[in-house]
């Protein structure tokens, strides 16, 4: 029983890593209607910026704040000067552009900082608290807490603020949003900027655990995408829950389902997606969207 609970806790902690990246992907999707493969790459770039600053003696929290500002500008600039050309075109092309962006950013990070694993200081101590025989690290708790805060903030942004509604309106139909007087182009830039900010937070949270390398978030990306689809593209709460679910079920399946084991546990999120989407095509928490013709 103790082992079971520990596996659940471990799964939640791994799931939080996926959730951090997934939230950023959902934000950019909600704001621009696009799945951004480069989100992880941008987060890594932000983490490198913070890392370089801490090496210069800047306190960690200030370094992360600086990387957040950097990310907002980076996101906005990328939207304005790169993505805009593809936003009204074929969505497949736009997705491929984000793949190209991921390759480029990874290459730049490798060029500037090499492929050595770099130690990234953690915001939270590595101490452990023990509850009923189950160990939880303060770091996992802290990460989870920040993610929950980000999730609530995002939910509030889209549900309750003018900016959030405007962002969503632009994503759903940029043309009619423009007709109703919304500054569409600026909103798209803000959407990308905010998503990059969330990515920067995610990067700073997971870099201590994964260690900083140009490809740090590459394997997390697939899980994050799975969480995004499973949770429903429109719901921050949904993707976080989905990410945790994936992390936990993966662990439990690996340990308790003989033929899956640790080598095929990667199949779990996909089986889950398939089963859930057959029943609920809009995802666990997603809104039903009307298909545009």
């Amino acid at each position: 029983m103790e082992k079971f609970v520990q596996l659940v806790v471990d799964g939640l902690s791994t799931g939080s890593v996926y959730a951090a990246l997934a939230l950023a992907i959902v934000l950019v999707h909600s704001a621009t209607g696009l799945v951004n493969f480069a989100q992880g790459g941008m987060a890594v770039l932000a983490a490198y910026v913070a890392w370089v600053l801490t090496n210069q003696g800047v306190p960690l929290i200030l370094a992360i704040l600086a990387s957040i500002i950097f990310s907002f500008l980076l996101g906005a600039v990328l939207e304005r000067f790169l993505m805009r050309r593809f936003e009204r075109g074929d969505p497949d092309t736009a997705v491929v552009v984000t793949i190209g962006l991921l390759t480029l950013i990874t290459g730049i990070a490798g060029w500037l900082w090499g492929y050595n694993n770099q130690q990234f200081p953690s915001l939270f101590p590595l101490d452990t608290v023990s509850v009923l025989g189950v160990s939880v690290s303060i770091r996992s708790l802290g990460t989870t807490l920040v993610i929950v805060v980000a999730m609530v903030a995002m939910q509030a942004l889209f549900a309750g603020t003018k900016l959030g509604l405007a962002l969503r309106a632009v994503a759903i139909n940029p043309q009619s949003a423009g007709y109703s007087g919304l500054p569409v182009e600026r909103l798209l830039m803000v959407g990308w900027g905010l998503a990059a900010v969330l990515g920067a937070v995610a990067g700073a949270l997971v870099a201590p655990q994964l260690t900083l390398t140009p490809g740090m978030l590459d394997s997390a990306l697939v899980y994050a995408l799975a969480a995004v689809i499973l949770g429903g593209l429109t719901s921050p709460v949904g993707v976080v829950v989905a990410a945790w679910l994936i992390g936990v079920l993966e662990n439990l399946a690996a340990v308790y389902v003989g033929f899956i084991g640790f080598d095929l546990k990667v199949a779990v999120p996909f089986i889950l997606i398939f089963v859930v989407l057959i029943v609920r095509p809009q995802g666990l928490f997603g809104r039903k969207t009307v298909v545009r013709v």
């Binding site: 491929v96 552009v97 793949i99 390759t103 480029l104 290459g107 199949a267 996909f270 997606i273």
Partner: protein, 375 residues
């Protein structure tokens, strides 16, 4: 004429009189040109392996392998509009079937049939489930194929050689042919690849291609026309898997080795990139996609091997920034530029410009395909 071809319903033939608009096209219409040009192409391809260097032959053969893989992806994605991130799995499966068959000493003809059949059946089974989903969900289910395929290949080490992979050198040039191995391999790739391209060309120009295009355009419209989107999605996916299997056979002809890394998920993404860069929904685009897939890593290696990722990313973005419709739209883009600079008259503008239509370059060819098929 330009606007008519864009807006007319796919099944409406365009007025025949408008076809022969310029003197250039009437020249191209002459029978000896119509038959001579492809003949010239075939002869050129037959001579090419004999006159090129060994490494040029190798490169061309690898282009053939991945052009076929991209072509398969185009059938399901470019023509039918279903995002598939699993194409490399079928290439890997085909390669494994080939390697295993060759190592077991089976007849090579049987091996080839199996490399078509097994991936097609697996593709069919996956599609029966996956085609119930749409949009991004189908992307996630197909992405699972390479991601689960890699550990699965390791687990089935009895058949796959585990992570050490399988070697099979089975395509030495026959005695007495006077050919070098690289020439013989290239001939095999040209013949098999050529047949696959030809068959696919007829497929997408025929009634199945029309149905694919309608399913891609709007599934509700398809249903109302009595075309079952589900059935055609399954069909397209199965054909794509079969073509993927063939590319796996060619992979073994050229590379002669396969391992779980062959079907790693990153390569599936690269195939998608190659398809879009070449030109989605285009036969020629598939070929150009194969060229991009193979030649770009070689070029970036030649420039600076330690900056390959950076250069590849930059190159990809540069190409799409200039040609959002892919490399296949280059001639049109150039022509447009030339006409604009020489005459400045709007009437000569080409029928569709990939960047301005909502469906981009992908929409252009299927539409034209319909007209061609029914004309």
């Amino acid at each position: 004429m330009a606007s008519s071809s864009k807006t007319s319903a796919p099944t409406t033939p365009a007025p025949a009189s408008s076809a022969a608009a310029s003197s250039a096209s009437s020249f191209r219409q002459r029978p000896w040109v119509r038959w001579g040009a492809p003949l010239l192409l075939v002869v050129g391809l037959a001579v090419l392996p004999l006159v090129m260097t060994e490494s040029a032959n190798d490169t061309l053969a690898r282009i053939g392998v991945f052009a076929v893989a991209v072509l398969g992806l185009n059938v399901v994605m470019g023509y039918t509009g279903q995002v598939s991130l699993g194409q490399i799995f079928f290439l890997g499966l085909g390669a494994y079937v080939t390697a295993y068959g060759v190592q077991s000493g089976w007849n090579i003809g049987l091996v080839f049939v199996l490399t078509c059949f097994i991936p097609a059946v697996v593709g069919l089974l996956v599609a029966l489930a996956a085609a119930r989903l749409g949009g991004l969900a189908i992307a996630m289910v197909t992405i699972a194929l390479p991601i689960v395929g890699v550990p699965l290949a390791k687990r089935l080490s009895e058949f796959t050689g585990g992570s050490q992979g399988l070697s099979a050198r089975f395509v030495a040039a026959p005695e007495g042919s006077g050919l070098y191995d690289d020439q013989w391999q290239l001939y095999i790739v040209l013949v098999i690849g050529g047949i696959v391209f030809l068959l696919t060309y007829f497929l997408v120009r025929g009634k199945y291609g029309r149905a694919f295009a309608i399913v891609k355009g709007n599934e509700n419209v398809a249903s109302s026309m009595g075309i079952s989107p589900y059935r055609y999605k399954v069909l397209a996916f199965t054909i794509a898997s079969l073509i993927g299997g063939v590319s796996g056979f060619l992979y073994m002809v050229v590379v002669q080795y396969t391992s779980p890394e062959t079907m790693s998920f990153g390569h599936s993404i690269e195939l998608l990139v190659a398809m879009v860069i070449g030109g989605a929904g285009s036969i020629v685009g598939s070929l150009l996609g194969g060229v991009f897939y193979v030649v770009v890593p070689d070029i970036t290696n030649a420039i600076d091997p330690s900056l390959t990722a950076l250069l590849q990313g930059a190159l990809l973005l540069a190409v799409l920034f200039v040609l959002p419709g892919g490399l296949v739209s280059l001639p049109r883009a150039v022509m447009r530029g030339l006409r604009r600079s020489s005459t400045g008259r709007g009437s000569a503008a080409p029928p569709t410009t990939p960047s301005s239509t909502s469906g981009s370059g992908t929409a252009a060819e299927p539409t034209e395909t319909e007209r061609q098929g029914s004309a």
